[in-house]
């Protein structure tokens, strides 16, 4: 059975299953919903099964490799494989997408297309994390944009057209650089096109070229992650998207940037990375404080959470730039942890909007009495987001902090400066999160909500189920981080061994 193309199955299952949806009888949404949910669940179970039985965790090399010739002329291969770096993110993708499908239950407008797009996105994201070919990586990167684009522009909010255009221009503009970089790397040094990650990692480039390549890739990932000056698409997109789309965007899409940064920039271009690492750290530190402060001044609930995502991604940058085991471990953990927390917060914002019909914080207030469960959950996830110990965010941020402190690469003053700026973020996070909670739930208002007090406004079982599913891994990782850190520990050491000259 070990020769069975497991990864191809995993990648293609959702999209092919999605192709069946148009043939369903037109008898309401229930069938489509359950079908999609079933496919997502099956896929997730399949991923877990394969990883449990066919993956050796202490091995840093690529496993479950598959290699099929696709387009001979271009040497374009269907090359898949996973290692410790991608496994965590694939699991996260499966988990979040399944929950997002469940979260999208109330969507009634054109459900066939909606659920098909969800499944297509599922494939695209898993394919991206599993691809071992730089052109395939680009292909998946672009493939996954289309569903997001459509999900945004059909099911979005009022300003969705502006948000979608901005999103597509930003990300498509960024991904041009991936293509250029990929082809340059492929053509360099030999007559034959090499696009395999492993062959590419053995190539060496002149430093100037490496720097140019590095910057090109960096722009693409900076848009996706997002990194400071290229972040403005994110609040607009998140502000307008339906909350199930938001869960996918915040939970998985942003992590593609971080993943690419580690997979391509760190692994394939180590020399340039060691030159640019201090800049990455500096940008990360600035981003934490900058986005946290902007978040504080946002009146719109979703935009506030969106800026908090940007702020949290700063930790990923610092971890990647710290060039230490601990720091990189922390960065990957932060991606996973933020994937869970961010998704949960956007979901909560969405279900609160369903009830209050407003996203403006100053129009809410005193809702805790009517929806105690949502209040409890919102408080818990806000606590998780502000890195309360016992939850995953704390471990990730702590490891990132430690990573920068133990790093030998940087000077004494630089480390002090970065650590202090980073720690200021720790003060700012509760300010915007708790004031958000205070404005939404605390206090008392004679408002339109009072009229609803008799009817049941609180979260239903489906919503509670989603939230409970999300909080379990958060607390689990927080209590015993080694349960997931061990997935990518050896891979991280392997990546960093390249930097030790």
């Amino acid at each position: 059975m070990s020769n069975f193309p497991w990864l191809t199955t995993i990648v293609l299952l959702p999209v092919f299953a999605g192709c069946v949806i148009p043939f369903f009888p037109n008898k309401g949404n229930n069938l489509i919903r359950w079908y999609t949910l079933g496919v997502c669940l099956l896929e997730f179970l399949l991923i877990t099964y394969v990883f449990c039985y066919y993956f050796k965790f202490d091995d840093p090399i690529i496993q479950l490799k598959e290699d099929y010739n696709w387009i001979d002329f271009l040497d374009f291969h269907w090359r898949l494989g996973i290692d410790g770096l991608s496994i965590g993110l694939i699991l996260l993708t499966g988990f979040i997408t399944t929950l997002a499908t469940l979260a999208a239950w109330p969507v009634t407008r054109n459900p066939r297309l909606f659920y098909f797009l969800m499944l297509a996105m599922y494939s695209g994201q898993v394919g991206l994390f599993a691809s071992q070919d730089i052109l395939l990586f680009f292909f998946m990167w672009e493939l996954e944009l289309i569903p997001v684009y459509l999900l945004l522009c059909i099911w979005g909010g009022k300003r969705r057209l502006y948000a979608t255009t901005k999103f597509i221009l930003y990300t498509a503009g960024g991904s041009i650089f991936i293509l250029m970089g990929a082809l340059t790397m492929g053509f360099y040094g030999s007559n034959q096109l090499t696009l395999d990650f492993q062959n590419l990692s053995n190539k060496s480039y002149p430093l100037e070229l490496e720097i140019i390549l590095y910057l090109g890739f960096f722009i693409a990932y900076a848009v996706k992650l997002p990194i400071f000056p290229l972040h403005t698409w994110l609040p607009d997109t998140h502000g307008e998207a339906h909350y199930s789309t938001c869960m996918l965007l915040a939970g998985i899409l942003l992590k593609m940037g971080g993943y690419g940064l580690i997979r391509i920039n760190m692994e394939l271009l180590p020399h340039a990375h060691s030159i640019f690492a201090p800049w990455i750290v500096a940008v990360g530190a600035i981003q934490i404080v900058y986005a946290a402060l902007i978040s504080f001044s946002q009146r719109n609930l979703k935009r506030r959470i969106a800026y908090s995502s940007i702020s949290h991604m700063g930790f990923v940058l610092i971890g990647i730039g710290s060039m230490t085991d601990v720091g990189l471990n922390g960065a990957i953990l932060q991606m996973v942890s933020h994937g869970l927390i961010g998704a949960a917060l956007f979901f909560l914002a969405g279900i609160t909007y369903d009830r209050t019909r407003t996203l403006f914080l100053d129009q809410m207030g005193g809702t805790a009495i009517y929806m105690p469960k949502i209040f409890t959950m919102f408080s818990s996830f806000s606590m998780a987001s502000l890195a309360l110990p016992g939850m995953s965010g704390f471990v990730a941020e702590f490891l990132v902090f430690l990573g920068i402190v133990v790093s030998n690469k940087y000077s004494f003053n630089f480390k002090i400066l970065v650590t202090i700026i980073e720690a200021i973020g720790i003060i700012l996070t509760p300010i915007y999160l708790l004031s958000m909670l205070r404005q939404m739930f605390y206090g008392y208002k004679f408002s339109k909500f009072t009229t609803f007090s008799n009817s049941n406004m609180d979260a239903g079982p489906r919503e509670i189920f989603i939230l409970v599913c999300l909080i379990f891994p958060i607390i689990g990782i927080g209590l015993y981080p080694n349960s997931v850190l061990s997935l990518w520990n050896s891979k991280v050491s392997f990546i960093l061994s390249k930097f030790i000259v």
Partner: protein, 720 residues
């Protein structure tokens, strides 16, 4: 019998289990959980009692064998790093365990009655258990990571409990203020921990102390950096123990239910800062500069807290400032190197202050049905007075607590406070005089509180206003105050603020409105509330003898320092010489204390020289009679030293302004580029659309015109 140490995990685990079970049940089965509320309360009390029995056992074991016991598990590990969590038991830990569990159990029993009419009764017990668990985890921590983890958790519990009555806007603000202020402390603590990890490469206390000691002796460490890190580390205790620059959250924290004020904001959590400094004492000791800073921060806090407490009209806020002042004493003691005295005061103060707070809770509980449920009515001492007649047990226990806190001989705080004062005299005369003056102030404000609350006549009934419609009454009172005293405009603002708050209470109160007309006099609280008060008088009376010097008169020869000895081997002790000297020092401080009591008696006592219909009249006449200096002091104290106002202007508004300007920058500059680029492209497209009109003559014109220009450029280019 090391056997018992292996089961020490039970101590924090049991309350934790209780809180998790209650929390989960409350989330999923709210109705049935609320209907079984008594059972849940008994359940959590029972589990905490088991933890308490364990702690007593551990303490007994510690007294007998004095072994430092460690147990560690790996938490985050790979081939390069290995972070551990586990337990550390030494005398300090065992004393703290007993302290937390005893006060915790008593507060739980008390809350059963205090919170019985509250909708959040079950939630309250869940929070309370969670807090106790985290606090127990904190004192058991063997390394700095675990300290940080539980440090944050107790902060979160405090946040939840301050914001317990979340419909009150003031509580909402207070809990956020508390959390953010504590986060500033955590910021320092985290940086300090990281800094010391950088220096020594370990988080474990023992290894850290040893390596750091070696480094300092061999001069291998940059002392400036070490001092910097130690100061950052000290920022944690400053915030948690409400020391001077970051004390602002503690008085506001009194928005929480009174049992919480007793447990968290008087006896245990605020002592966590003292505990941490005590735990890291071997580290701080090597850095004399930091020790000086610690002692001065402590002294300033003690004095500031005492002065602000002088004119508070709110019963709980007065006690809160007194807590702050006493915490300052402990910090001062630690800073001057008398470790034993600081811890001793921590223990004695915890019991006395818990007693005082529970007493005040009892007062509030019985008064609130008469004057209304808004915190600035039921806690306002202007409406109290003469309560000892109506609630004798509360009155007497409160008096005992007051005696203890003022430092009157056989009571607990006398021994510890006297030790601190003596030691600080020996250390430096400035610190000594500050602590002595503070002792006098303490006596004054504590007896002011006592006289205003329990002696004289009940002022609610003297005040001829019927308390039927609390909201409108507050409007009238505001008018009175405006006429009488223009300086109190800030207070008026608060009152107006509370009018909205009043509405929610009104619905709860509706059932009581009928009773109000009958209940003109407060009643003694029920037995469940009196029992903890009576139990707490025992330690208030007797626990002081732990640290009382033996009559034989050797140096540092008391029970407590004998227990603490293994923790504290290397420090040079400054203890008072012998019994005689001790007595002489005591007379010195006692005279100050009694003069404080005397002044309080003259101003506020039952047979005072001033008319005392309402407290504000007293204050008003005081202001008229005394000169401008005193009125300045009075106002300074009344408005909390104006510190909150300045913080509000500088930090809150400053952050907000910065956030808004950055947001403007983000929206109009960074995003402006993007949008501008989009608009530019749009106009370009439009203009090109118009250029391409489809007329060939126009194209030809453009072609020829362009060629001419090119020719010219080429021509001139060739010429020059």
């Amino acid at each position: 019998m090391e056997f018992i140490y292996q089961f020490v995990w039970i101590v924090p685990f049991f309350p934790f289990i209780a809180s998790i079970l209650i929390g989960v049940n409350l989330l999923f089965f709210p109705k049935s959980t609320k209907s079984l509320r008594e059972i849940w309360a008994i359940f959590s009390i029972l589990l905490l009692s088991i933890a308490m029995i364990f702690s007593f056992n551990i303490l007994w074991q510690q007294i007998n064998d004095n072994i430092i016991y460690r147990y560690l598990w790996s938490w985050i590990f790979d081939n390069k790093i290995d972070f551990k969590i586990g337990f550390l038991i030494d005398p300090l830990t065992s004393i703290m365990l007993v302290l937390i569990t005893t006060v915790g159990v008593l507060v739980m029993i008390y809350s059963d009655s205090y919170m019985s009419y509250d909708q959040g009764y079950v939630r309250f017990f869940a929070y309370l258990s969670l807090f106790t668990a985290s606090m127990l985890g904190l004192v058991l921590s063997p390394n700095l990571i675990q300290i940080y983890i539980f440090w944050e958790l107790v902060g979160m519990c405090s946040y939840l409990l301050i914001g317990f009555w979340f419909t009150r806007p003031s509580a909402a603000n207070a809990c956020q203020k508390a959390f953010v202020t504590n986060r500033i402390g955590d910021f320092g603590l985290l940086l300090g921990i990281l800094g010391f990890y950088w220096i020594t490469g370990s988080f474990e206390f023992e290894i850290l102390f040893k390596r750091f000691n070696d480094l300092v002796i061999n001069h291998e460490v940059n002392l400036y950096f070490a001092n910097f890190c130690a100061l950052l580390l000290f920022l944690g205790p400053i915030a948690k123990s409400a020391q001077f620059p970051l004390h602002i959250w503690l008085p506001d924290a009194m928005e929480g239910p009174t049992p919480i004020s007793a447990l968290i904001h008087a006896a245990t959590m605020v002592a966590a800062g003292i505990f941490l400094v005590a735990r890291l004492f071997p580290l701080f000791q090597l850095l004399p500069f930091v020790m000086t800073i610690i002692s001065w921060v402590g002294a300033i806090t003690a004095f500031l807290g005492a002065t602000i407490a002088l004119a508070q009209t709110d019963l709980k806020k007065g006690l809160a400032y007194s807590t702050m002042s006493q915490l300052g004493y402990m910090m001062l003691a630690l800073g001057i190197g008398s470790y034993q005295a600081g811890l001793f005061h921590l223990i004695t103060h915890a019991y006395s202050k818990a007693l005082l707070f529970l007493g005040s809770g009892s007062v509030i509980h019985s008064v609130e049905s008469i004057v209304g449920y808004s915190p600035n009515k039921c806690q306002n001492m202007a409406f109290m007075g003469g309560l000892r007649k109506y609630m004798p047990i509360t009155g007497i226990t409160f008096l005992l607590g007051t005696f203890s806190l003022c430092g009157i001989p056989p009571f607990a705080c006398f021994w510890s406070k006297d030790e601190i004062i003596t030691d600080s005299w020996l250390y430096s005369s400035t610190l000594g005089s500050i602590s002595l003056v503070t002792a006098g102030l303490t006596a004054f404000y504590m007896f002011r509180i006592y006289f205003l609350t329990f002696e004289g006549d009940l002022r609610v009934n003297l005040n001829k206003v019927a308390f039927t419609y609390p909201v409108s009454i507050w409007g009238e009172l505001n008018l009175n105050k405006k006429n009488s005293n223009k300086n109190k405009f800030v207070l008026n603002k608060y009152d107006i603020f509370f009018e909205t708050d009043q509405n929610e209470n009104q619905t709860d109160n509706l059932s009581f409105f009928s009773d109000i007309k009958k209940l003109k006099y407060p009643k003694e609280s029920d037995n469940k509330m009196l029992f903890p008060l009576l139990v707490l008088t025992l330690p208030t009376l007797f626990i002081g003898f732990l640290g009382a010097p033996f009559p034989e008169g050797q140096i540092g020869s008391d029970l407590l320092s004998q227990w603490l000895y293994p923790v504290f081997k290397s420090a040079e002790e400054i203890t008072s010489g012998n019994w005689l000297e001790f007595g002489l020092n005591a007379i010195n401080s006692l005279s100050v204390v009694f003069s404080g009591i005397f002044i309080a008696f003259i101003l506020y006592g039952p047979f005072s020289l001033f008319p005392q219909n309402l407290e504000k009249n007293i204050e008003f006449s005081l202001e008229k009679n005394l000169n401008s200096f005193f009125s300045f002091i009075y106002n300074w104290s009344y408005f909390r030293g104006y510190i909150d106002v300045y913080y509000n202007i500088v930090f809150v508004k400053g952050t907000r302004l910065l956030a808004q300007s950055l947001s403007f920058f983000d929206e109009w500059i960074i995003d402006g580029f993007v949008n501008g680029f989009g608009i530019l492209t749009f106009f370009e497209g439009e203009s090109i659309k118009y250029l391409e009109g489809g007329r060939i003559s126009f194209y030809l014109f453009g072609l020829i015109f362009g060629m001419i220009i090119l020719l010219f450029i080429g021509f001139f280019g060739a010429m020059f």
